[in-house]
């Protein structure tokens, strides 16, 4: 029988510049241990990434859970002799890492088996609905929600208690509560992860909402592109029914509730409440004007509340720990946590949950590990295609609904895309706008035509045909779209254009006036050429050119035929001497 070590030293290079650095220190630890003894008792291990960044080499001593940062070769012996053998804390290099994340929504994701209801119950699952049914009147549920301050996590940020309360106040023979799982922002997968990782918490949230508003029927509207989420939610519903947690007379309280899944067919606009209702009813996914609000007249004309997946997953915890506890997290106007799908040019693309009020800088650098390949950061896009770009200058802004809106972006559903210096702002605006143009339902003219026109102008700019008057047109169309579009999709579709114009006007000007793309992204705006005095005539560019348009030889030098060049960038990439310019 092999025995476990008594102590572990976990070494992490939290800067990850030079891969040799950590190896050297690791080897040194091993060598020292061999010399002074203890290699039988202590294992020294290199980790890849433990969520600590910018602290040099970090050594974590287990099981004592003591951290040393900025560990240099000279510290190794001291850590072993004093820190481990003598159990002394080396104050000079000791530090306490702070976990910036706080998992409420994701509390069970990655912890429980989502296909076993017993696992959920073991984590106090369905205790909240029991508590609610036995100790709260519907009105008290609404009050508790009001105390919690929870606002909708789907993008709009409407107070959840208020929705419930409006629907509660309407008398009707039938009411509905719908879970909106039609997540569609590019790069966003928060809802999918919750539905796949902890489906019961969403169902329990739906039940509590149903009880509060007086609905006995719930629907989970999940996009068909999430087959695993659908499968797990379906299993969860069946298990909950088998246990009597869904159905009639739940916990003997007389409360009846059941729910079922409706599949969305992949239209982004169906995440909009009225279009979602139309879709469930079997109609074309068109938004309709409000009022009437769904909470008064929604699905099949009945009072209907629509809550987002993340919103619902918060709710059981609120009732287990209390609305006041929840309200103690976050900022004045935004309580609790927010889940973000942190992607783009960030080192560690991850699904994170952070308390409201954390700064964008902390998210990118302390949670996400900074920028990929140590490039310079340019901006963050929050709120998906409805959001805006936020330049680095504003990265210390605390994340909450109002602050982000002030910057011309929105909280949105939680997509967060990091851009570095190689990303072109016109290109980014084009990308998001292109998404909204594709996803426009076509019902209202401002969105349907305005988006297409904006996209056309941006394309002209990115291809060197832009005119300075186009900027005014961009602003004019954006204004009309914001003011005259029917639904949120159209009203916000121009946000990426408006915000990028606001913060990166110089970059637009460079495209228009100088036919230059500062990020080198817009391929129509540059030509590749060989810089004579840097060229070492290695011929690597010529050999790698896929279209054979680099002429010359190692004696005469090389020339790129600009007329035939397809601007793939291969020569630029392979040249070791920086002799290809663009």
């Amino acid at each position: 029988m092999v025995k476990a070590f008594k102590k572990y030293v976990l070494l992490t290079d939290t800067e990850q510049g030079d891969p040799e650095r950590i190896k050297k220190i690791h080897d040194l630890f091993l060598a020292v241990l061999r010399v002074i003894g203890g290699d039988e008792e202590i294992q020294v291990v290199r980790t890849s990434d433990v969520g600590i960044y910018g602290r040099g080499v970090v050594a974590q001593i287990l099981p004592d859970n003591i951290f040393y940062a900025g560990v240099q070769e000279e510290h190794v012996r001291q850590i072993i002799e004093e820190g481990i053998f003598q159990q002394k804390k080396l104050e000079a290099i000791a530090f306490e890492p702070k976990d910036k994340q706080l998992r409420i929504v994701l509390r069970n994701c990655g912890v429980i088996d989502p296909e076993r209801i017993e696992d959920y119950i073991a984590q106090d699952g369905y205790f909240a609905i029991h508590k609610v049914l036995t100790q709260f009147t519907p009105e008290q549920v609404v009050n508790e929600m009001k105390i919690s301050g929870l606002r909708g996590r789907g993008g709009g940020g409407f107070p959840t208690w208020m929705k419930w309360n409006i629907a509660r106040g309407v008398t009707a023979d039938q009411k509905y509560i719908i879970c909106n799982g039609d997540e569609g922002d590019p790069g966003a997968y928060m809802d999918r992860s919750v539905l796949e990782g902890d489906p019961h918490s969403v169902i329990e949230g739906l039940m509590i909402g149903g009880y509060a508003m007086g609905a006995t029927k719930g629907f989970l509207y999940i996009r068909a592109e999430y087959p695993l989420a659908v499968e797990r939610v379906q299993k969860a519903i069946i298990q909950a029914r088998e246990r009597g947690l869904l159905g009639e007379n739940i916990f003997g309280t007389g409360f009846n509730f059941d729910c079922e899944i409706r599949l969305g067919a992949g239209a982004f606009v169906c995440g909009e409440e009225t279009a979602l209702i139309a879709s469930i009813e079997g109609r074309r996914g068109y938004p309709s004007p409000r009022p009437p609000y769904p909470a008064i007249k929604g699905l099949w004309g009945k009072p209907t509340v629509i809550n987002n997946v993340e919103t619902l997953a918060n709710i059981p915890v609120i009732f287990l720990k209390g609305g006041a506890w929840f309200a103690s997290i976050g900022t004045e106007t935004a309580k609790g946590t927010k889940v973000f799908a942190l992607t783009g040019k960030v080192k560690n693309s991850s699904l994170i949950e952070v308390p409201m009020g954390i700064s964008l800088r902390e998210i990118v650098f302390e949670v996400g590990g900074g920028i990929l390949n140590n490039k310079k950061i340019k901006a963050i896009q929050t709120g998906g295609p409805s959001g805006g770009v936020i330049p680095e200058h504003y990265f210390d802004t605390p994340v909450d609904y109002d602050q982000l809106q002030k910057l011309g972006s929105i909280m949105g559903s939680g997509g967060m895309i990091v851009m570095d210096e190689t990303d072109c702002i016109v290109d980014i605006a084009k990308f998001y706008l292109g998404f909204c143009v594709d996803e426009s339902c076509g019902k209202c003219a401002p969105c349907r035509i305005g988006g297409t026109q904006l996209l056309h102008i941006l394309t002209e700019i990115s291809e060197g045909r832009g005119k300075i008057e186009d900027v005014e047109k961009l602003k004019r169309i954006s204004f009309a779209m914001q003011k005259a579009s029917l639904c949120g999709l159209g009203q916000t579709a121009s946000n990426p254009v408006a915000s990028s114009l606001k913060y990166f006007y110089e970059e637009y000007k460079a495209h228009i006036l100088e036919n230059r793309c500062p990020s080198g992204k817009c391929s129509r705006l540059f030509r590749y050429r060989v810089v004579e005095d840097k060229c070492k005539r290695c011929s690597l560019c010529q050999r790698n050119c896929p279209v054979n348009v680099i002429s010359g030889d190692r004696e005469k030098g090389f020339v790129i035929d600009a007329a035939k060049c397809v601007k793939c960038g291969k020569c630029f990439e392979v040249c070791k001497f920086g002799a290809i310019a663009r």
Binding site: S440, G450, G451, A484, S485
Partner: protein, 581 residues
């Protein structure tokens, strides 16, 4: 009554009224391209936006209900700027075909662009390249001109319950089309033309047959005759500045002679004849129990088409009497031709109808060819007639009144009310009463079947026997009536009705799909009023009193439901698939 303020002017409103409606009360017209008074708001165009104090958004006036103490601004630089940009965007997505478009000078988009004084197209022209669909031969779909206001879809699906038109694709590729991207002619379309009557632009348009008429008029070999339908006379004036409902029968007769028609007939005459046949049919079924009840009227070709597609189990209930248009055409090419000694093959019959479906009816079955060739050669709508009048260079308003040509031209009050919902029923009841009692009614008006209520039900007592009747107009109102009959038949319960009148268009033919644009309930009422006034002005107000109808039976037909009638004036129905292919 709520109180609010619009542009600083205090205003009162009823609960449920929209900002758009209430603004009218303080003389403010908020522009819109998609809202039509007939239809619920689609909120599509985005032009009617206004500011409401307390909201940083702009709200759509067409669908935002007024609230107590609302403070609304309908026009300020921001609002006008947003509206103007939207109008320009719509223009960028619309072809510049105005000069050759059927809606030139009568187009809501064109008017709006003129009003906004848009002199330059700043945005790139993005006009879809989509084919014109004229497979129905009645209404023509020209999708590139569509501004996606959604009126036609609303009309087709909800007002008419036909579901031929829908939106396909999405985003800038959104287009109107029958579901499944089939042609309109293969779709459930019943050619009622309400889509074309509601379209703000030239995207849906009646198939213009005026060139065929001109050609025939110029052909010396042809003996051109014409008939005008009841509802045309009270609407045609709208093209010349008259108020809706102004009865211009006399001017129309003289006009048509000026255009070159050798004989001018009136469909109202044939309406009287229809009553003779249909009332006889009803008496046969009701009194003599020969044939199933209820009897359902068949003057409306869109309804016939609808029934053959959706309610073909009701065929046995259908009156076999042809529509007045077809009766008149059949007689013109037989009875009239004989009387004046003209080769029927040379007679060219043009009908002027408030209706697009009539263009389809003229060849819908072999019974429409019983006089040798196609009985009605061309059917044109009121809108087409207005264009012909303008082309002919006739000063219509100054024309003298003339009479129709006799034999097929004189009508009673019962004939003219065919143009309004309930009119066929009322006319039939007047004569059925006579057939049963051999007495004329002391009071011929049946108020209960008049007006714009979607389904009108009443019971009429003839000689102590109750006749239960229903009148439905707007195809969307029909199914509830038919379903009641179906349910009663299935359960073997007493029939809910004995006699049912259906007209496909809301308001009946006065609101027909081929009538002048801009129809609203107000206009429908005014036109119906014109029709009823014509009725009241007549000494003879029952079809059986029409001396020329009597003469026709004496000289030619024999008796109602007789052999000749059967051959010339009656037709058959066949179930039709909702979708062809």
């Amino acid at each position: 009554m709520g109180k609010a303020v619009i542009n600083g002017i205090p205003v009162e409103f009823e609960p449920g009224m929209t900002i758009l409606e209430v603004a009218r009360k303080v003389q403010v017209r908020i522009p819109t391209l998609c809202k039509h008074p007939d239809l619920p708001p689609s909120a599509g165009c985005g032009i009617c936006v206004v500011k409401v104090k307390g909201s940083n958004k702009m709200l759509r006036a067409c669908c935002t209900p007024m609230e107590e103490n609302m403070q609304i601004i309908t026009h300020d630089p921001d609002i006008v700027q947003a509206r103007r940009t939207v109008v320009e965007l719509i223009l960028s997505n619309h072809p510049n075909d105005c000069l050759t478009c059927g809606r030139n000078q009568n187009c809501e988009l064109q008017t709006m662009i003129a009003d906004f004084a848009i002199r330059e197209e700043e945005f790139k022209k993005i006009v879809p390249n989509l084919p014109v669909d004229n497979t129905t031969g009645t209404v023509v779909l020209e999708p590139p001109k569509c501004i996606k206001c959604g009126r036609c879809v609303e009309v087709c699906q909800n007002m008419q319950d036909v579901w031929a038109l829908s939106f396909l694709d999405r985003g800038v590729d959104t287009r109107i089309s029958p579901a499944g991207d089939i042609k309109l002619g293969d779709s459930p379309c019943v050619r009622c033309g309400q889509c074309s009557a509601h379209c703000p632009t030239g995207a849906i348009f009646e198939n213009d047959d005026t060139t065929l008429v001109w050609k025939a008029l110029q052909d010396s070999e042809k003996y051109c005759v014409v008939q005008i339908a009841p509802a045309v006379r009270v609407a045609v004036g709208e093209g010349f500045g008259y108020e809706p409902g102004t009865n211009l029968t006399g001017k129309l007769y003289s006009l048509l002679r000026r255009l070159g028609f050798k004989a001018v007939f009136d469909t109202n005459f044939a309406a009287d004849l229809t009553i003779m046949e249909e009332a006889s049919e009803f008496v046969e079924r009701f009194v003599n129990k020969k044939g199933p009840l209820p009897l359902i009227t068949t003057c409306c070709p869109a309804w016939v088409d609808f029934m053959e597609k959706f309610d073909s189990d009701m065929i046995e209930h259908f009156s076999s009497a042809k529509s007045p248009q077809e009766m008149l055409s059949a007689l013109a090419k037989t009875y009239y031709a004989q009387k004046i000694g003209v080769d029927p093959q040379k007679i060219f019959m043009v009908s002027i109808m408030p209706c697009t479906a009539k263009k389809y009816e003229i060849h819908r079955s072999k019974e429409m060819f019983t006089a040798g060739n196609q009985n009605t050669d061309v059917s044109i709508t009121t809108r087409e007639l207005i264009r012909m009048i303008r082309q002919a260079g006739v000063d219509f308003a100054e024309l003298p009144d003339e009479g129709a040509d006799s034999l097929l031209g004189d009508y009673t009050g019962a004939g003219v009310i065919f143009g309004a919902t309930g009119g066929v029923m009322e006319a039939a009841l007047r004569t059925a009463y006579y057939f049963v009692t051999k007495e004329n009614l002391p009071k011929v008006e049946f108020e209960a079947v008049r007006g714009l209520k979607g389904v009108k039900e009443t019971t009429v007592t003839i000689k102590g026997t109750d006749i239960r009747i229903a009148v439905a107009h707007g195809l969307g109102n029909v199914q509830s009536v038919i379903n009641k009959v179906r349910a009663a038949k299935e359960k073997g319960e007493p029939l809910p009705y004995h006699f049912i009148e259906v007209m496909a268009c809301p308001g009946g033919c006065v609101g027909g799909g081929g009538q002048p644009y801009g129809v609203t309930d107000e206009v429908r009422r005014a036109r119906a009023k014109g029709v009823y006034a014509d009725d009241e002005s007549k000494t003879l107000r029952c079809s059986h009193e029409n001396p020329y109808v009597q003469k026709l039976y004496q000289d030619f037909l024999g008796k109602p439901l007789g052999e000749k009638s059967h051959h010339l004036l009656h037709t058959k129905y066949q179930p039709q698939p909702e979708y062809r292919k």
